[in-house]
């Protein structure tokens, strides 16, 4: 038996889910910020094409990073197979 059991499993899981939520909020925050800049540029007629062009690259990159993070999180935590 692993000595990791000394730490209550519920606390560990709670913090891990909290970290995952924090990661979502961080990436989500950046995407919201980029969208806010597009809206501001659009509203002011301030060359929105620049914002749209960069967001077309930046948003998928951040979403890919989020996907990889979640793939690892889900893939490791939900594995119940034996070693």
């Amino acid at each position: 038996m692993s000595r990791a059991a000394e730490v209550p499993e519920r606390i560990v899981r709670g913090i891990q889910w909290g970290m995952a939520a924090g990661f979502v909020c961080f990436i989500g925050g950046i995407i919201v910020w980029i969208i806010h800049l597009i809206r501001t540029a659009w509203r002011l007629g301030d060359i929105p094409s620049a914002s749209i062009g960069i967001s077309l690259v930046a948003i998928p990159v951040f979403l890919t990073l989020l996907s990889v993070g979640f793939y690892v999180f889900w893939g490791l935590l939900t594995d119940r197979s034996e070693r």
């Binding site: 692993s2 000595r3 990791a4 000394e6 730490v7 606390i11 560990v12 913090i15 891990q16 970290m19 961080f26 990436i27 950046i30 910020w33 980029i34 800049l37 597009i38 501001t40 540029a41 301030d46 060359i47 620049a50 914002s51 062009g53 960069i54 967001s55 930046a58 990159v61 951040f62 890919t64 990073l65 990889v68 993070g69 793939y71 690892v72 999180f73 893939g75 490791l76 935590l77 594995d79 197979s81 034996e82 070693r83």
Partner: protein, 453 residues
């Protein structure tokens, strides 16, 4: 579980399990430098940027030089580590973790230079509220955010099996290691998930890293300032970044090899290979520098020539020629023949390149601003104790972050070393056989000739 019984790599866990007096001396020394930096920043914060040597027209000095330099160093890690992983270079195993840590730590320090340069950090909110994507400065903010996020993910994912070893082996920091280990038990499925995620990240971080330093160069090259408006600035900056990154990685490896007794893991062969990479990058850097300056000289545009001659024979000549000496002549002399004393030669070359690349950033930023196109007189820039303090503090903070990391996590990837022993050897043999001609495909004459030879 994972490995209480396997003590072959105990030396890698020793710095985490025990702390010697050297650690406290190092922390004490670095803390003094950080205090100097804090005092400098406090003075600047209360009195404004007037206490620095920055003024018009030289509004960028040490801080922007440090910013470009630190962001460049960050290429040590992610890019070198990712390229070595993707190319299945087996000698990467003890190297990658150190490189990835450099990237994450130095990105924090590099990004903070812009906050320091702002003078009033509250103005950062203006970027969040009113940022304009026409400005390369905002491209920088976006790409550095992406790079930092990717680098943290890329550092963390390969650390998971090692964190599980710490969770199972150590009696302290159980909560920290249990949380970060993500329930790792080393099952086949977990291994598959891990390997797939590392492979995806290795592919992803390379274009992100290249884009980051290209965008850093765009901050300069998108202006019409003399000797900044250059089409090769993107690749020139990327080459310089990889160059300085390799040098920083070598220095970190040598320091921790000596401090933590990692001689069995970081062998002269690792330094030889990295030294050869450094030599190639020195040649590439020289080629880009030569092309950049020759093009400017041949154009003979008056404003460009003012900056050009200020670097070659004017006020900035000591910095320019010191840059050529430290970035090209010293590394080439040290690295061209790596017979005996490999590590000593590689260390001298790396330290030289670190100094040289900082000078290169300085020589790009300041002379152009001193001789702008606008009708200003020639600007003088003398950094005050505030800039020196903040520069020293920034370097010390980076070193302290790195040192603290090594007290929490193994600085060499334990599971990758074990994988190298258990799987890597066989894999390399099989891979090597696939490179060679298959005897079954050879004709009888070729087969018998091959047998004779």
């Amino acid at each position: 579980m994972a490995d209480r019984a396997d003590n072959r790599d105990a030396v890698l866990l020793a710095p985490i399990e025990r702390t010697g007096a050297g650690f406290y001396w190092a922390v004490g020394g670095l803390a003094l430098l950080i205090l100097w930096g804090a005092a400098a920043y406090s003075t600047q914060f209360t009195s404004g940027l007037g206490v620095t040597g920055l003024h018009q027209p030289v509004s960028w000095g040490f801080y922007v030089t440090n910013f470009v330099f630190f962001i460049g160093i960050s290429h040590a890690g992610t890019l070198i580590s990712a390229i070595l992983r993707l190319s299945k270079a087996e000698w990467r195993r003890p190297v990658t973790r150190m490189a990835e840590v450099i990237t994450v730590m130095v990105l924090f320090i590099g990004a903070s230079q812009i906050l320091i340069d702002l003078g009033r950090p509250d103005r950062l909110l203006n970027i969040l509220r009113y940022g304009r994507y026409q400005s390369p400065l905002l491209w920088d903010a976006t790409s550095i955010s992406a790079y930092l996020t990717a680098s943290i993910v890329y550092l963390y994912i390969p650390m998971i099996p090692d964190i599980a070893i710490l969770r199972d082996r150590l009696d302290r920091r159980k909560l920290l290691y249990s949380v970060l280990a993500m329930g790792w038990r080393g099952t086949a499925r977990q291994q598959t998930v891990l390997n797939r995620a590392i492979a995806i990240m290795a592919v992803l971080v390379i274009p992100i890293a290249v884009s980051v330093h290209s965008v850093v160069s765009f901050v300069f090259s998108m202006t019409l300032q003399p000797m900044w408006h250059s089409t090769i600035f993107g690749p020139y900056f990327v080459v310089g970044a990889i160059f300085s990154g390799i040098a920083a990685l070598i220095v970190a490896m040598i320091i921790f090899r000596a401090a933590y007794g990692l001689h069995a893991y970081l062998k002269p062969i690792h330094f030889r290979y990295l030294g050869q990479l450094l030599l190639v990058m020195a040649a590439l850097w020289f080629y880009f520098t030569f092309a950049e300056y020759l093009t400017g000289y041949y154009g003979s545009e008056p404003e460009e020539m003012k900056v050009f001659w200020s670097k070659f024979t004017g006020r900035f000549w000591p910095f320019f020629w010191a840059m050529v000496l430290t970035n090209f002549l010293i590394p080439v002399l040290c690295l061209v023949r790596l017979g005996r004393r490999t590590i000593g030669k590689v260390l001298i070359a790396s330290l030289s390149v670190i100094v040289g690349m900082w000078l290169e950033r300085f020589i790009i930023v300041v002379p152009t601003l001193s001789n702008p196109r606008l009708p200003f007189g020639e600007g003088l820039y003398w950094p005050t104790w505030v800039e020196w303090g903040e520069t020293a503090g920034s370097f010390a903070l980076f070193a302290l972050f790195y040192l603290l990391f090594t007290k929490l996590f193994p600085v060499i990837s334990i599971w990758e070393i074990r994988e190298g022993r258990e799987v890597g050897l066989k894999e390399v043999e099989e891979r090597l056989l696939t490179y060679l001609p298959d005897p079954a495909e050879l004709g009888p004459a070729e087969s018998s000739a091959a047998e004779v030879t």
